[in-house]
């Protein structure tokens, strides 16, 4: 399986959310370059950037199944050529939103605009959208080439041109040699590549990706993720991508929309969603977050762990007095306390109970005897489950650069402070 080897770049990108943080302006620049550079570094043939990529607008979409509201007033705008990822727990409506855009679900109310034209009532087969499904979507009776050519055949393209173009697209996804193979002879990753080529063959105005990587194993997933992203930005196709994997969403998308109960909680660039979550739900759903008890002093300052920190205005509205302060592990500073050192000063004293090496950083788990309300939420909380802690102690996790770890071994007495930066607060959980 030649395609299953992962290149070093793929490995790096897979190494976590933290790795994608320094990409602030890069993505936008890359998209702009791809859009403004006709021809570009695209494979030979007619697979150049789309002329006139279209924008998408969802206006107040609603859809209920009995008592369940899958879409509850979803409003979303996607710019031409942009890749937006919808992220959320299962049942949050992200798939329904995608299927509504594809034309497989009819919204009960609301409007869908593609390129400024209302397509709400247009049947799926007239929408000209390419879709990649989760798995098993290739026609088992057709070869890879014929699968890719399927849409062209329906468009009555002459056989010779059709085959030539399908061949080009297979080359584009790196499967030129597998053209004659049937789906069951291809690996999962290869099947999804063929599915991608098939979706692109009809020169869709919009590309829809319905968790296309979720059935693949980690290595193939990381590699295909990067390939889909680079192909998408080279071709400049407006793309909606649905996933429950936050790493996928954060590393691929221009903007990430976090959904909950049929609505958007936040729609912003990945760095923003991770660094400045607008709601506690987003903070806990994306990445790991520490909840520490704090107290609001005025509207824009919070007192937490003996420090005074500025407050991000998004979460603070209508709150006063006791609050929870939400802090990412990398914003928690853990410093060793030598025996007999004075215990005064900012911060909270605690004891290291566990540390797990993750490459560039090491996650250190600290027990805080004096702070029972401290807790860990989000993705990292699952790792704590098996660690028995006293009821009276709280927990906090910190990501410490591995080279600065020193002797923060389990059992070490430490002082925990927070990095000097604005923090998100929420009502007491």
């Amino acid at each position: 399986m030649a395609d299953d080897t992962t290149d070093p770049a793929g490995n790096l990108a897979a190494s976590g959310v933290a790795g994608s943080a320094p990409r602030a302006g890069e993505v936008d620049a890359a998209v702009e370059a791809a859009l403004s550079e006709p021809g570009g570094p695209v494979a030979p043939g007619s697979t150049g950037p789309m002329d006139g990529a279209v924008g998408i607008e969802m206006r107040d979409l609603r859809r209920s199944y009995g008592a369940v509201r899958a879409l509850d007033g979803l409003t979303l705008t996607i710019s031409p050529g942009e890749l937006v990822a919808l992220l959320g727990p299962s049942g949050c409506g992200k798939t329904t939103a995608l299927r509504a855009l594809a034309g497989f679900e009819r919204p009960d109310s609301g409007q869908l605009l593609v390129g400024g034209v209302d397509v709400t009532g247009v049947p799926a087969n007239k929408r000209g959208m390419g879709m990649v499904f989760q798995a098993y979507s290739l026609f088992p009776n057709l070869t890879a080439l014929d699968n890719v050519a399927f849409g062209l055949r329906l468009r009555r393209m002459p056989a010779r041109r059709r085959r030539a173009r399908a061949g080009e697209l297979l080359e584009l996804v790196g499967l030129g040699a597998q053209a004659g193979q049937y789906p069951h002879q291809l690996s999962g990753g290869q099947q999804q590549r063929v599915a991608l080529a098939r979706a692109l063959a009809i020169e869709p105005r919009v590309l829809l990706l319905d968790e296309p990587l979720s059935a693949l194993d980690a290595q193939v997933r990381a590699q295909l993720r990067d390939e889909i992203r680079s192909l998408q930005s080279r071709l400049g196709i407006t793309t909606l991508f649905v996933t429950h994997d936050q790493e996928e969403a954060l590393s691929m998308a221009d903007r990430v929309g976090v959904m909950r109960s049929g609505r958007l909680e936040q729609l912003a660039a990945p760095e923003i969603v991770y660094g400045w979550p607008e709601t506690p739900f987003v903070a806990e759903f994306v990445g790991t977050v520490n909840r520490l008890p704090g107290r609001l002093i005025g509207a824009d300052t919070v007192e937490v762990t003996g420090q005074r920190l500025p407050v991000l205005e998004v979460g603070a509205q209508g709150l006063a007095g006791d609050v929870d302060v939400l802090v990412r592990p990398e914003a928690v500073v853990v410093s060793p306390v030598p025996d007999g050192a004075p215990t005064a000063g900012p911060g909270v004293l605690g004891k290291v109970v566990q540390r797990s090496f993750r490459g560039a950083t090491t996650r250190v788990q600290v027990e805080l005897p004096g702070l029972a309300r401290a807790a860990v939420g989000g993705r990292g909380s699952a790792e704590l489950a098996d660690l028995a802690t006293g009821d009276a102690s709280g927990l906090v996790v910190a990501d410490v650069p591995t080279i600065a770890l020193g002797d923060l071994a389990p059992g070490a007495q430490v002082r925990v402070t927070l990095a000097e930066r604005a923090v998100l607060v929420s009502a007491r959980a």
Binding site: N125, G130, F139, N141, F150, G151, R198
Partner: protein, 287 residues
């Protein structure tokens, strides 16, 4: 990492095996029971066949010969009876498939809650004795149906469609269950396909084996059905065989052997074709 990997535990000593004798004896005993059951079943199924074959080879003038096998093609009525049966089989297959393929597709895609109901309906012909069915149909048609239908074998063809329902439906249902129909249909939709594309480019090609299975089952059924044809007074192949048996038993058994062989070849063909396409489910659909 490598250092950790190379630390090896001392290999645990292989426990001394129990005396092998009793083990081996158990295996043989289990195997023996299997053989006994197999032989009993084989005798039950094969003995009548062997006996019939032996009987068909007996020469009226003593000894063995192929006389019966040479004779039957020249018997009066053979050609017309066989032709009628073939026509009925083709008609039944055509109607069954035209009726069931869209139905099964629709039930799987749009009306999954109807699946139990349809399944129950298709099993009814197995529960209702054919004779009841034929008398009922006869009664219904003679009072309400058009006269030409009653006086034409087409009538019988329709009843064979009913009889074939359980087998054909099961085969198609299993075949369609083996593919991810919804995803395939949606893929075809998003690529620009309409309902005809779905049916002819997506469903049918991927149901090839199941369709073949349904067809062979129907053909086998029509070629072997006696009661209905006899009651409706049509000389189909089985009716002819029975009538010949009354005068020339040897010939009738010879013909039966040949028709059995044909059906068997048909089934073998089906299994071979089915085996070539790994993803398809059991073509006989649970039967």
């Amino acid at each position: 990492m490598a250092a950790v990997m190379t630390e090896t535990l001392p290999a645990p000593a292989v426990p001394a095996g129990r005396p092998g004798g009793s083990r081996a004896w158990e295996v043989i005993r289990a195997g023996a029971w299997r053989w006994v059951v197999f032989l009993l079943a084989a005798i039950f199924f094969l003995l009548p066949l062997v006996a019939s074959f032996e009987f068909s080879l007996r020469d009226p003038h003593g000894g063995y010969s192929l006389a019966s096998y040479r004779q039957f093609t020249k018997m009066p009525g053979f050609g017309s009876a066989l032709w009628l049966s073939v026509k009925l089989a083709l008609m039944a297959v055509g109607i069954t498939l035209a009726l069931l393929v869209p139905t099964v597709t629709l039930v799987h895609l749009r009306l999954p809650w109807l699946r139990r109901v349809v399944e129950t309906l298709t099993v009814l012909p197995l529960v209702i004795p054919p004779i009841v069915l034929v008398v009922g149909v006869l009664g219904a048609f003679s009072s309400y149906g058009p006269a030409w239908l009653l006086s034409s074998p087409v009538n019988l063809g329709f009843e064979y469609v009913v009889l074939a329902l359980p087998f054909a439906y099961r085969s198609l249902d299993a075949g369609i269950g083996a593919i991810d129909l919804r995803t395939l249909v949606e893929a075809s939709r998003s690529l620009g396909g309409n309902w005809a594309t779905e049916l002819f480019r997506v469903v049918l090609p991927n149901l090839r084996t199941a369709v073949l299975g349904a067809a062979v089952m129907t053909v086998a059924l029509v070629l072997g059905e006696f009661a209905m044809a006899s009651v409706l007074l049509w000389v189909t192949f089985p009716v002819w065989v029975v009538s010949v048996a009354q005068t020339q038993a040897g010939v009738s058994v010879a013909v039966s052997m040949i028709s059995l062989l044909l059906t068997w070849v048909l089934l073998m063909l089906l299994i071979t074709l089915g085996g070539r396409r790994g993803r398809q489910a059991n073509i006989l659909g649970g039967f």
